[in-house]
């Protein structure tokens, strides 16, 4: 027989999932913004296993607690495995460090290009600049102005200032990327 969840039952499941997610985030020292993702993972697993709940064996809260504990343990294990594989804790490139985004503080020698064994010496940098100047000639003036504005602010901030709707800015960026690719500028 399918389990019928009442409103209090649903509130109970949500609050148990929230507590379990908080515990996991604190124990694993995960960034705060991952709390939502962790909570969703836990809740999804709980809802999938809900048909197995037997009212004769215990309360719904106890059942939910047990399921969430096991799932949290599995998540913790996979996070540890990922950290061992990557040699540390992943960080967000958008994280603010001393007023700058972390991505702005990474030197060229430690960037993605170096990771993929691309040339990052001074000659390569100059050649890349020349390629960029040449490729930018393929863009029209409106797109060049947008690129100049994006030098100082992200697309989200421009949209927040009322420059244009966010979706149209990202559509234009997609088109600009294709045009730069066609003009011979390889992705970094």
């Amino acid at each position: 027989m399918a389990l019928q969840l009442s409103r209090p039952d649903l509130q109970l499941l949500l609050s148990e999932a929230h507590c379990a997610a908080w515990r996991l985030v604190r124990r694993m020292r995960l960034p705060r913004h991952q709390l939502e993702d962790v909570r969703q993972d836990l809740l999804l697993d709980l809802l999938e296993r809900l048909p197995a709940y037997d009212t004769r064996r215990g309360t719904l809260g106890a059942f939910a607690g047990k399921i969430l504990t096991h799932k949290a343990a599995r998540l913790a294990k996979s996070i540890w495995r990922e950290r061992l594989l990557l040699g540390g804790e992943p960080v967000s490139l958008d994280e603010s460090v001393a007023g700058f985004a972390r991505v702005e503080l990474i030197p060229e020698e430690q960037g993605l290009a170096a990771f993929f064994c691309q040339n990052t010496d001074a000659f390569a940098r100059i050649e890349r600049r020349l390629d960029l100047v040449s490729a930018l000639g393929a863009l029209d003036n409106d797109d060049l102005r947008l690129c100049a504005e994006l030098y100082h602010a992200t697309a989200d901030r421009l949209a927040a200032r009322g420059r244009a709707p966010r979706s149209s800015l990202y559509r234009r960026l997609k088109r600009i990327r294709l045009e730069l690719m066609a003009a011979g500028l390889a992705a970094a």
Binding site: G137, N141, C147, A148, L178, M181, A182, A183, G184
Partner: protein, 113 residues
């Protein structure tokens, strides 16, 4: 009066807009790519339904991008006729134009002023 309807050859999407741009970026002058085989005017038309909707939209973007490349001087566009409503649409890479109309530095200077 003939009542025979010439069946159109089957058509499929061979290339996406991104693949065309990637090819253009690394092509040497004289390189040729067949970016479509069929009859673009009919293949893009939703009434004939020769392609699924998603492919029709991609074909529209692809042909627009090919025209953009030709207008910018990156390539020549040619067609080769094989039969009724059966063309090969070819794009031939050209040497890159040397003159650069504007640079990001000039635009940044204007924005700062």
């Amino acid at each position: 009066m003939t009542s025979k309807i010439t069946p159109l050859p089957p058509v499929r999407l061979r290339c996406s807009e991104m693949e065309l741009c990637g090819w253009l970026g690394q092509a040497s002058p004289g390189d040729v790519l067949q970016y479509h085989r069929g009859f673009i005017l009919v293949d893009r038309d939703p009434i004939h339904e020769r392609l699924p909707k998603k492919d029709r939209e991609e074909l529209a973007r692809l042909s627009a991008r090919a025209h953009w490349a030709a207008e910018r001087g990156f390539a020549h566009l040619l067609q080769r006729r094989h039969g009724e409503c059966d063309y090969s649409y070819l794009i031939i890479a050209r040497p890159r134009p040397k003159a650069v109309a504007a640079t990001i530095l000039a635009t940044l200077d204007q924005e700062a002023a």
